[in-house]
């Protein structure tokens, strides 16, 4: 089996009010942080039969549903799952 680890983040040009709130909290706790951006992490398990075109399929899944290309970027890694 294969596991796709997908990370979806807001595009740089999009304000992230959640990230800003967390950033302010960290600063008020005294940590020297520059910026916090909040994203999503997803794991998609694929059957062995999908190995051949897994990369292509994951791009399609990410574009169609897991991310909204208008506001978000995505990236993923594929790894073997025991």
């Amino acid at each position: 089996m294969l596991k796709a680890k997908v990370t979806v983040t807001l595009k740089k040009s999009i304000l992230d009010p959640q990230g800003s709130a967390v950033e302010k909290a960290l600063k008020s706790m005294g940590y020297p942080v520059d910026e916090v951006r909040i994203g999503k992490y997803m794991e998609v398990t694929l059957p062995e039969a999908a190995r051949g075109n897994a990369t292509e399929m994951m791009h399609e899944i990410c574009r169609k549903l897991l991310s909204n290309p208008v506001i978000e970027d995505y990236r993923f890694e594929l790894e073997d799952k025991e």
Partner: protein, 235 residues
């Protein structure tokens, strides 16, 4: 007039929309998200709520429900579609309207009366409003912050696709009148063809004095008038 209101799992304003139409003399039908055809309807309304629990992103999963495939076909063939709140979010997710709705600027869920300015009154949705008129329609959302890139925003403005803008009580477009951080105070937009309208405020909640206002009435009545004209002149 045949009006269909799509009910997704998690919709919660569909009965309000139905009731608003009833007050104004129409009896819409409820359509379940599993249905596959909207043929024969004059107007499809996508109501507010939290379709599919807003999982992943607002409207992201509803957009792939069986009925939406036919709603998209219907819209592309010129059918009238009105998306309110979550309905607006679904319309942006499926690409019938540009942009996206993000978390409100201050992260708060907002449920309050809101001043809007009618920017377009030459549409089937808004012909009974006066251009520049300030109306009050409530908002009720956590993710209504309209986002679009600079090129998209320029295109929207140049094509006059902004139908409603958030304003202060005097009708000025400014930060004070912008509840959620939307770009250019955008509260509602229409597609270039003029048959798909998405808006965050809830016109169905202000159609009777007894519920605190009637500024939403004319949106529904404009649609009826446009439909009557179409029947009469076949336009």
């Amino acid at each position: 007039m045949n009006i269909g209101i799509v009910r997704f799992p998690g919709s919660n304003c569909e009965v309000d929309v139905w009731e608003a139409w009833k007050v104004l003399g129409q009896v819409p039908k409820m359509l379940w998200h599993q249905e596959t055809s909207v043929r024969g309807y004059d107007l499809i309304v996508l109501p507010g709520g939290f379709s599919y629990g807003d999982y992943l992103r607002t409207g992201a999963i509803a957009r792939f429900s069986p009925i939406m495939e036919d709603v998209i076909r219907f819209a592309k063939e010129g059918g009238m579609v009105l998306g309110i709140c979550n309905g607006f979010q679904i319309l942006t997710e499926c690409g019938l309207l540009p942009g996206a709705l993000l978390r409100n600027r201050d992260l708060h869920f907002l449920c309050q009366p809101q001043y809007l300015r009618a920017e377009r009154t030459d549409l089937a949705f808004t012909s009974l409003y006066q251009k520049g008129e300030v109306i009050q329609i409530p908002i009720n959302h956590g993710e209504g912050n309209y986002a679009i890139d600079d090129a998209g925003l320029k295109e929207l403005e140049e094509n006059g696709q902004v139908v409603f803008r958030y304003v202060d009580a005097s009708g000025e477009v400014n930060e004070a009148g912008n509840p959620n951080g939307s770009r250019h105070n955008i509260a509602g937009i229409v597609n270039r063809e003029g048959n798909v309208l998405g808006m965050m405020p809830h016109p169905e909640r202000v159609v009777e004095e007894i519920v605190g206002g009637t500024d939403g009435q004319r949106l529904f009545l404009s649609l009826v008038q446009a439909w009557e004209r179409r029947m009469q002149y076949g336009a």
